[in-house]
Amino acid sequence: MKIAGNIPVREVEENFINIQPIQAAGRLTAEAMKALIAYGDGYSTCDQCRKPFRLDKITKPPIAEFHSDLSRFLNMDEARVTPGARRAFQAVCLALVEKGDTVLVSALGHYTEFLAVENAKAIVREVPTNDLNIVTGDAVAQKIEEVTREQGKSPALVMLDHFDYSLANEHDVAGAAKVAHQYDIPILYNGAYTVGIKPVDGKALGVDFVVGSGHKSMASPAPSGVLATTSGYADTVFSTTQMIGDVTGRQFGVKEVQMLGCTLMGGNILAMMASFPTVRRRVEGWGEYVTKSNYVVDALLSIKGNMCVSEYPRKHTLSKVDTTGSFDTVARIHKRRGFFFSDELKQRGIVGAFSGATRAWKFNTYGLSWDQIRYVADAFKEIAGKYGLL
């Protein structure tokens, strides 16, 4: 089936169990799909945009209320929707960081943090992980001291992923926040892999900014995200334009500079809003999703030669495993090489594992039912059995 002649209908989620690492928690709810159907037109949020003509002030549909709900959900004071987490990193960097400043990120930090820092003409320095691939508060303190010694001034910002994209290990954000504040440095919490799937309390963590990704973890279309902050930083990061046109004398009053005015102006924010009641409920069930994740990882570990590269037991639904000692031994002699494994999975209705990968690879079980979890776990063991790996 094709759309407009050459765009294939995407049927991945309907026909397969999809364990792709970054797609799992961005799958839409039924309500979000309906919002896209009804609000897909370009500026659909703007039917009843009234003074002061800003997205977060619109009451019909209830976009203003959604912004308040978002800040309460994250226990912060102010929130804005953004076109992805990366635009939130960018907004904070452009608001807080000067040319030549240093920004600390994790050695497992996402590449978009690097780009946001570079965009502000600042310099990234990485906080190393410990032997367990965890970033600790102590490591942040050491790096602050090191940078301050070298440069004669402390870093301008710390950005730390709660769970990183690579291993989905949990890092000590609360410890890092405590340390950062001892040096009077603001800290940004990267919740791309937490906001929308597990409870996040910005005030309890002690952070100045909470960033989430709508399309990664809030059952929303791409791009979408959230930036929440404290009342102390809201005026800085959400500063309004002071510019006056020299010919026309035009001013644009309440438009926020770092947001570039309105952000998500169509189906994306409405879909995000439509998923939000489900998102708010589902974070309370995070523990069960982690249990399911461990069930699948345990099934993989029951196969001789397999290892869990991520911290174990798992605290997240995204995991990295090493199957060099099992599936890769088959790949070395199979005519399809590493593709034999993804072929076998696909024959069983499972997709999302990186095609051709049989050494280290990632998968995500978020959102799967127990029936689907058992099916995936059994499929791994069945494939291992077929090739004499059990």
Binding site: E13, R27, T29, A30, K34, A38, E65, P277
Partner: protein
């Protein structure tokens, strides 16, 4: 499957989709969205039961309800557009 139940009001959670101008709803449009939304509920059911699509008794009931809603809305839509 549906996050919070009623779709007949053509609301998605607390977002009133249509008629926020207060001019009254066109029945044809109302039924069009109702049919699309019912099929969307069915779509999500297919996702939740992939890849085998073996439905439990409760899921079978949900599927029947969604199909009935879609059929009823399409039937009304057909009548509306023939008037």
């Amino acid at each position: 499957m549906a996050a919070n139940g009623s779709f007949l009001s053509i609301k998605i959670n607390n977002i009133k989709l249509l008629d926020y101008w207060g001019l009254g709803m066109d029945n044809a449009v109302d039924n069009l969205f109702e049919a699309l939304f019912a099929l969307t509920d069915l779509r999500v059911l297919l996702r939740e039961t992939a890849p085998l699509h073996k439905l439990s008794a409760e899921q079978q009931m949900q599927a029947r309800e969604a199909l009935a809603r879609a059929k009823a809305a399409l039937s009304k839509l057909e009548e509306e557009l023939q008037e």
